[in-house]
Symmetry: C2
Subunit: 489 residues, 2 copies
């Protein structure tokens, strides 16, 4: 048995070999299996799927509370739809999966697996939206999207199939559309930071780094242990070229036909999950925020010969009490594994609370309780158990968030010169600096940052005016924007 | 306003022109839009999606309560996986959608959009399942599947993209696998009949009508108003040729390596929804079983000049009371539609309960309450309102089921001769008869039934022994099975 206990742990340290740590975590916490015979398409296992489902529902509930309704668009999009908007077709076709045959029949027109649904949905919006009374019009769907990534893939983080929610919303005015982007920022803050405990910055991307067919792109970036940023939910102000291409117009109160304004918002839940397990995970395995954990409490009975019944009976009684109080509880009474093996397994899987009950504990009217956020153990009198669990529930995600905030605080620094930027990038940090321009004028400096400094200009803080504190460190000209630079995934 | 009121109704009777009734229902209840520019791929609208989501979760919860866990398999399946099992490839490839390119790059091997996931999943099962301790192994996923149907398509009922749950389960013995098929019958009964109120028969299909690669197929058939049966959830005993092809073996307690037994079960939720709206719908529109309705109660305030505030205030108060009691309630206070328009709209959408509040009602401390299952109206004292709503909730689905049972009872008849079978088929009925054989020996008679009588042998009742009452009406030989014949969709 002892061999198995040793086998289950991760054999490298997260901060020493992140890539190997991640690979072992996938396997040992049973999250994803990369042995499916198609590159970039991992199989997602129950423990991960149950968390991704919780994350998806969080976003769905939040969107519905704000007036978005669910629909389901077909997976397949005729190629001609893509050609209606020039920037979009240019941006996406290099990574589209194309369906060419149904059975033996070759189609006259190729069909795309949706890389995102603008070109399918807006065609319908053109049919559905007639007058100003139809606006605002807010719809979303939770589906998979497909992108033939050429970069190296990794489960959850970068894959060719992405599980996401996409919301697409139509407004009468640019002002209302912008307000919607601000609302998307609020949703991201509330869920990504509040529930998933992931510190992030919501950026307005520079003009050279927009979603194909948008006039502005806003996106949440999180800086990971790898020293690179990962893009999480993004929101786009779709250009009116789209409304024109798909005839998304409305008759206004003044009887005039007008082009509508469209926004979209795309939280990718499989990627959010990848970010959170990376961010919170430690050398012992997963650490999951409370509302993301598939289950909350595991009870491990310590079975001694002759005392089996009394221990199992007490464990069952405790389970019932906690289930009645609304908790998801597992009684791990498998007889072919040792308690030590079980302890390691549930730490690996990020079970928030472990309760151990043995004959001694029963005599003393207590249990041993371990909490995964702080890694601490204590004896709890049975009479206090529920109160203790309630209090752990209420502080669990806050603890993870505080820890995350501290890590991030040290990792964002100001830089005024190329040398400072290079030094910060080398030590895995994000740099706040001033920049000549985030319009296309600034693209030359950004290219230099990428090619010579090895970083990427991620943009300005969205909806926040920050004070200038230096000239552009690249061209030396007067700076007009405060931007952030980091290595990217 | 009156013009709109008239416009909203369905202009044909369901039992006179079913096809036109269905088309108008799609549009007027806002369930599906067939104007998307790809045949067989309708867009599903919020009111339908919210019900399909409820149906999906019903099945998921039931499966999880019985030990099935969720996973997510990739959409794409390499062609070589299909070729591992000969019957399966022959059965499915004629209707597979093939992906051939990613961007400009042509793949060396074509990739299938999953028509069903056996050939993807069992390849993983072969890797995951090692010993008898791993069994039973029960997994499911809720995803879309794709079949290039050549028959005429219709939203929900027959489409090229199907939203379903597929459960795939591995057992040590044939006996356990068969028990699982029985369990699938129980789930189908509990949900399809209990919650969706759809009377159906769970058949064991004849040997000539099995799922490609199965040794037995069991499936629920429902007889619709069209006089044709529609196949709803099916369950298959997968042949051990599959276990062999994908190496799904386990080391038994006796140290011997053995081939596992596999079952699968596939409730198609979009199709279940199609069946239920067809079955329960009437000339005024949708009628939805209680647990499928996206919302339960609409409150329509009767606004008269000078009394707006008092009416809206009372309506809001009633809404709050019912929401607090756990109901999903909509206050329809749109000012640009007449009460009559709203009544028709919510009847069309199958809202179970409508509550009308006017100034007179407030004076009398009452509301007018309409229930969609019985089509009756009554005045209810405010003090009795919640009790009345509770009682409607508790009897609503039962009423629909009783009505459905009565319709079906008249539509299944015994037949002993070809002439009786033809007459029954012509009047849209299902015929119970005796048959020479449901093994391949009987296929010639079945072909005659199909070609000359215009019906299809759907199979024997699963897990039920029925007494023989005649010889085979086709060949005149001694019958060995009681089977059912019907026209099929």
């Amino acid at each position: 048995m002892s061999k198995k206990v040793n086998e289950i742990g991760i054999t490298v340290k997260k901060d020493e070999d992140f890539s190997e740590w991640f690979t072992q975590l996938m396997k040992k916490a049973e999250l994803a299996d990369v042995r499916y015979n198609l590159k970039g398409f991992p199989v997602y296992m129950p423990w991960a799927v149950r968390s991704i489902r919780k994350i998806t529902r969080m976003w769905e509930e939040e969107l519905e509370a704000r007036g978005h309704e669910p629909l389901l668009m077909p997976l397949l999009i005729p190629e001609s739809n893509f050609h209606k908007e020039a920037d979009h077709v240019e941006g996406f076709t290099p990574e589209v999966f194309w369906v060419t045959h149904g059975g033996d029949k070759e189609f006259e027109e190729r069909l795309a697996l949706r890389p995102t649904s603008e070109t399918a949905l807006y065609d319908m919006y053109g049919k559905w939206i007639q007058t100003y009374r139809d606006l605002p019009f807010k719809r979303y769907q939770s589906v998979s999207v497909f992108r033939h990534e050429t970069k190296m893939t990794r489960p959850f983080m970068r894959t060719r199939e992405i599980h996401w929610t996409e919301s697409h919303n139509v407004f009468a005015t640019e002002e209302e559309a912008y307000k919607d982007a601000v609302e998307n920022l609020e949703i991201t803050e509330k869920l990504l930071y509040g529930k998933l405990a992931i510190p992030h910055i919501f950026f307005k991307r520079p003009q050279w780094d927009k979603f194909p067919g948008a006039i502005n792109t806003f996106a949440a970036d999180v800086l990971l242990d790898s020293g690179k940023v990962l893009q999480l939910p993004s929101s786009h102000m779709i250009s009116q070229a789209f409304s024109k291409a798909f005839d998304v117009t409305y008759k206004d109160a003044d009887e005039q036909e007008k082009l509508a304004w469209i926004t979209c918002y795309g939280p990718a839940h499989s990627r959010n999950y990848g970010a959170l397990i990376t961010f919170h995970g430690d050398d012992k395995g997963l650490v999951l925020p409370w509302d993301v954990a598939p289950e909350h409490i595991v009870i491990v009975p310590l079975i001694f010969k002759g005392k089996e019944d009394v221990v199992l009976e007490k464990a069952t009684e405790i389970k019932k009490q906690l289930v009645d109080a609304g908790y998801t509880v597992r009684l791990d009474d498998r007889d072919n594994f040792s308690p030590g093996y079980k302890f390691n397994e549930w730490e690996m899987k990020g079970m928030p609370i472990r309760i151990v009950v043995g004959p001694k504990d029963i005599e003393n009217n207590q249990v041993e309780l371990f909490r995964r956020d702080l890694g601490t153990k204590e004896f709890v009198p049975l009479s206090d158990l529920q109160k203790t669990v309630d209090s752990i529930r209420d502080s669990f995600t806050d603890n993870l968030r505080d820890k995350a905030d501290k890590i991030i605080a040290d990792k964002t620094v100001d830089g005024k010169t190329e040398r400072e930027i290079i030094a910060a990038l080398d030590s895995g940090k994000m740099i706040r600096t001033c920049f000549c321009s985030t319009d296309l004028d600034g693209e030359a400096c950004a290219t230099k940052v990428e090619k010579e400094l090895g970083g990427e200009v991620r943009g300005e803080k969205f909806n926040t005016k920050e004070e200038l504190f230096c000239d552009c460190p690249i061209c030396g000209k007067k700076a007009n924007h405060v931007v952030y630079i980091a290595k990217s995934h």
